[in-house]
Amino acid sequence: MAITLNINGKSESVDAAPGTPLLWVLRDHLGMTGTKFGCGVAQCGACTVHVDGAPTRACVTPHDALDGAKITTIEGVEGGAADAIRTAWVANDVPQCGYCQSGQIMAATALLRDNPAPDDAAIDEAMSGNLCRCATYMSIRRAIKEAASLV
């Protein structure tokens, strides 16, 4: 049965099996591949999106539990924090392979929105759920601090 989701400010009609995680609805049903699959068990953060502003692991979030929620993905995240994060990410060439970076940017944007001047401890806490096998962690720290100065 089709339900309507609010994704990046647009209404999207989705006809997926009950319980299908948001991740696969985004990627396979809607063709929005910016949100990545990394583990399927909320351990790596590659699938991080915002649900009503809060960083959320799309791989374990049933899409049919999101009726009425505002879903934001890497393709649609905007605003001062997101702009600053993207600017700092580009200036510092943060990504290497880039695969985890949608999730990193979504997590970092939420952090910066809640905490305009995060210190190392706050960054570690907010970002430790997002794995990066290229190990861009030091670059991410530098870029979040730089982004904080841009907001």
Partner: protein, 793 residues
């Protein structure tokens, strides 16, 4: 004015430049510039009267036949400009990258090399990914050698194209070539203020003969504009918007999705299966039994049962509902604990001598002090953030695949064998790779997609879940090593014995092979740079029971761990400073030839003349890293510094790590200092990123990484049990220094990994007096270091 807006210099008829059928090639810049191109020919020169560049009509020149390219066999391969460079009428420069982009920024670095010699305007450069084809030469993106293999020939290609553009301008102006010169996309001359843009000259230049290498002048390093410069990445601006296509992102019209239940054991089989519940899962379309894998493993798929569905989630749910009785195969008895004990026993016995200097036996007998140590390192998984994924489309005669592969040529050849068709009927284009680390050198997952696509007659994407990736990998080899040394009464090392036991990678390709190869031993064992007058390196055999493969820096990981840990153990036994003693072991600056002492040493495929083992460079990075860390400074209680230095992939890396270890074994890493000498560097940003990433990769493995098997099956399954380092554990202070060098380029992606584990072990010893010889130091479950009884010597 009517202009064509696509490649004037004919692009190779590749999927290379401008294959519109590729679902992910970036044509956006081309489209943009193409639109603006109608207006760019009027170039106003600041401060001058308005100069309008004339529109060159290439047909107005009576030219002899250009003849064949004389650049097809320069050092490194074919440097014919048309293979690499396309220039649009409006000046857009499209450079073809034949190596796979997996985060090492090879798109950017290859473009820097070509664009520099071409004297292109960087803002007009676009890169496209080449399909797998022999015309590009080696495309196997591993071994940290994209720059090394291609630096020269891509410079030649760029310089040849520049010369042709200059020649075209000279022809137009009727001036001698030496009165014309190129800069940033424009050719000017010494006679007047006129300029001609590359886009305007491209068609005429493309009709001229390609110059011979002897007639091409490469720029001097002082003239470089993009090489050795901090050029921003060409991929990052897209990544931050979630754009760009990884293997798992490929979408084709009518595509279906598959996941596969594979036998838990290598060469295990499907005994029987019942798919009734699977077929009842909404969205599941069918199941398919895949052919059983038979030894040797090669790049075969592992067999099992594929579930084909309308979407990935339905396929995952369908697989969950499969009822399969697995039949044991020849590796059913593989148990990591038992196997470790067997390997350790082998390591204690004399092995096959692989390098020998002097008389180690006599020197050990005569030594004042004898020191022995045993080291153990487990299997590891590469676990790139993007698990393997491939999409295949079969039209009844031809196969096309898009996949995150490091080597599209071997993928194509393996596909041809697996499907029994001519490889000319197969096209393979690499997507972006969401990390690789050696896993994506093996195209088993592409073969799976092709077999299923042929069966179902629709485009198929095979997705590996993380569990699949962790359980069914090509694992880094497990190893046991024995080290023994003799010291004289002054503590000087007089005898060095190193014995290495591990199942070789060749066992994946020939299951009768159990002897470590010269290539693996040449990664840190037979090329040991120490000056001890008596030195012997031995190997012991071990049979493979999992698929053994490459993982970032390969055998260097366990060899550097043993050699550099043992060096610090000897320093301790001699009562000397770790760093001073390490430099003494290395000895004076000189060039080594392991072959002179009986080693079959390959030097990563390079000659020792061009890439010597230079202990002077090794010493230099060690001293630099020590200086950066302020070696010898007073440290807080339970802090320690450790150093390790290692040459691999023709580059030199020294790492100093500071640790703080709580009484309970809780570990912090306050600082890491790395000095790297990689010869000529294309982009210092890339080098720093690889040093940070490669070091953390090594630290992650050292602290947490272990793949173990029980009853032939891998025990770990996902990030909770296969643990990797997280943000909060990353060092707060991480400094990198690149040694300025005009030596030929060495590797960068792998060399930072080997020194990480021994530097960490040496730092922990310095902080606590506990010597860690078994990897990993913490493991998947623990919170603290597993500290063995304290050393009393």
């Amino acid at each position: 004015m009517l202009m064509r807006d696509l490649g004037i210099i004919p692009a190779p008829e590749a999927g290379a430049a401008g294959d519109e059928a590729s679902p992910y090639v970036n044509l956006s810049r081309r489209a943009f510039v193409g639109g603006a191109g109608l207006f760019v020919l009027g170039v106003a020169l600041a401060g001058c009267s308005t100069y309008v560049e004339p529109d060159i009509d290439a047909d107005g020149f009576d030219l002899p036949d250009a003849g064949p390219s004389p650049l097809t066999e320069v050092r490194g391969g074919d440097a014919t400009p048309a293979l690499w460079i396309a220039i649009d009428k409006d000046g857009a420069v499209t450079i073809t990258c034949h190596r796979s982009e997996m985060g090492q920024q090879v798109w950017t670095s290859m473009a820097q090399i070509v664009a520099d010699e071409l004297e292109a305007d960087w803002d007009k450069v676009t890169i496209v990914q080449a399909e797998g084809h022999e015309r590009y030469g080696d495309q196997n993106t591993d071994g940290s050698r994209s720059v090394r293999f291609n630096f020269h020939r891509l410079r030649v290609a760029g310089a040849a194209m520049r010369k042709m553009l200059v020649a075209a301008a000279a022809l137009y102006w009727k001036l001698p070539e030496d009165q014309c010169s190129a800069k940033a996309g424009l050719v000017s001359n010494s006679q007047n203020d006129e300029t001609l843009s590359y886009g305007n000259l491209a068609e005429l230049a493309g009709r001229l003969a390609v110059p011979a290498e002897a007639d091409i002048t490469l720029k001097t390093p002082r003239e470089w504009r993009y090489i050795n410069a901090e050029i921003p990445s060409l991929t990052v601006p897209r990544i931050v918007r979630g754009e760009g296509t990884f293997g798992i992102d490929v979408q084709r019209p009518g595509m279906v999705h598959a996941v596969i239940a594979r036998p838990p054991q290598l060469f295990g089989r499907v005994g029987s299966f019942d798919d009734a519940k699977t077929l009842a899962v909404p969205g599941v379309l069918s199941t398919m039994r895949l052919p059983d894998a038979r030894p040797p493993a090669l790049y075969q798929p592992l067999g099992g049962v594929a579930v084909v569905a309308r979407n990935t989630w339905a396929a995952i749910e369908g697989r969950r509902a499969l009822e399969i009785a697995w039949a044991d195969g020849p590796n059913a008895g593989y148990d990591s604990e038992t196997y470790a004990a067997q390997m350790q026993a082998t390591a204690r016995r004399s092995g096959k001598v692989r390098r020998s200097r002097g008389n180690v036996g006599a020197a050990l007998a005569a030594a004042e002090t004898r020191v022995t140590a045993e080291y153990y390192a487990p299997h590891l998984g590469q676990t790139p953030m993007e698990p393997p994924s491939a999409t295949a489309e079969w039209d009844g005669d031809r196969l096309e695949c898009w996949a995150c592969v490091q080597d599209p040529q071997s993928t194509r050849e393996t596909l041809a064998g697996a499907l029994g068709i001519d490889k000319e009927l197969i096209k393979v284009t690499p997507t972006w790779l969401g990390g690789a680390f050696g896993r994506k050198s093996k195209p088993d997952f592409v073969i799976e997609a092709a077999l299923i696509a042929r069966e179902v007659g629709k485009p198929v994407k095979v997705t590996w879940t993380r569990e699949d990736d962790v359980r069914h990998g090509f694992y880094h080899s497990v190893s046991a090593q024995y080290c023994e040394a003799g010291l004289d009464k002054d503590g000087t090392c007089t005898a060095w014995l190193h014995r290495s036991v591990f199942p070789p990678i060749s066992s994946t390709f020939d299951n009768s092979v159990s002897e470590p190869s010269d290539g693996e031993l040449g990664m840190g064992a037979t090329d040991v740079p120490f000056a001890a007058p008596n030195l012997r390196v031995e190997s012991g055999n071990a049979k493979g029971h999992l698929r053994i493969g490459w993982l970032r820096s390969v055998a260097n990981i366990y060899h550097a761990f043993a050699v550099q840990s043992f060096a610090a153990e000897l320093a301790h036994a001699a009562g000397r400073d770790q760093k001073d003693y390490l430099l003494e072991l290395i000895g004076p600056p000189r060039q080594l030839d392991p072959a002179a002492e009986g080693a079959k040493y390959g030097n990563y495929g390079a000659s020792l003349e061009e890439y010597p083992i230079d202990t002077g460079r090794l010493r230099q990075v060690a001293e630099k890293a020590a200086d950066m860390a302020q070696w010898g400074r007073k440290l807080p209680d339970r802090h320690g510094l450790g150093i390790a230095v290692h040459r691999s992939f023709l580059s030199y890396v020294a790492t100093v790590i500071e640790v703080a270890v709580g009484k309970d074994g809780a570990l912090r890493i306050p600082g890491v200092w790395v000095a790297v000498d990689a010869g000529t560097v294309i982009n210092p940003r890339h080098v720093r990123a690889q040093v940070e990433g490669g070091t953390i990769y090594g630290l992650s493995n050292a602290l947490y990484g272990a793949i173990t098997a029980k009853n032939g099956a891998v025990v770990q399954d996902n990030f909770p049990s296969w643990r990797v380092l997280r943000m909060g554990e990353a060092p707060r202070d991480f400094k990198v220094e690149i040694i300025a060098s005009d030596a030929p380029p060495g590797g960068v992606g792998e060399p930072p990994t080997p020194p990480a584990a021994p530097a960490l072990a040496n730092a922990i010893f310095a902080a606590t007096g506990h010597r860690l010889r078994t990897l990993p130091f913490i493991g998947a479950e623990g919170d603290t270091l597993r500290l063995p009884p304290r050393q009393t010597a």
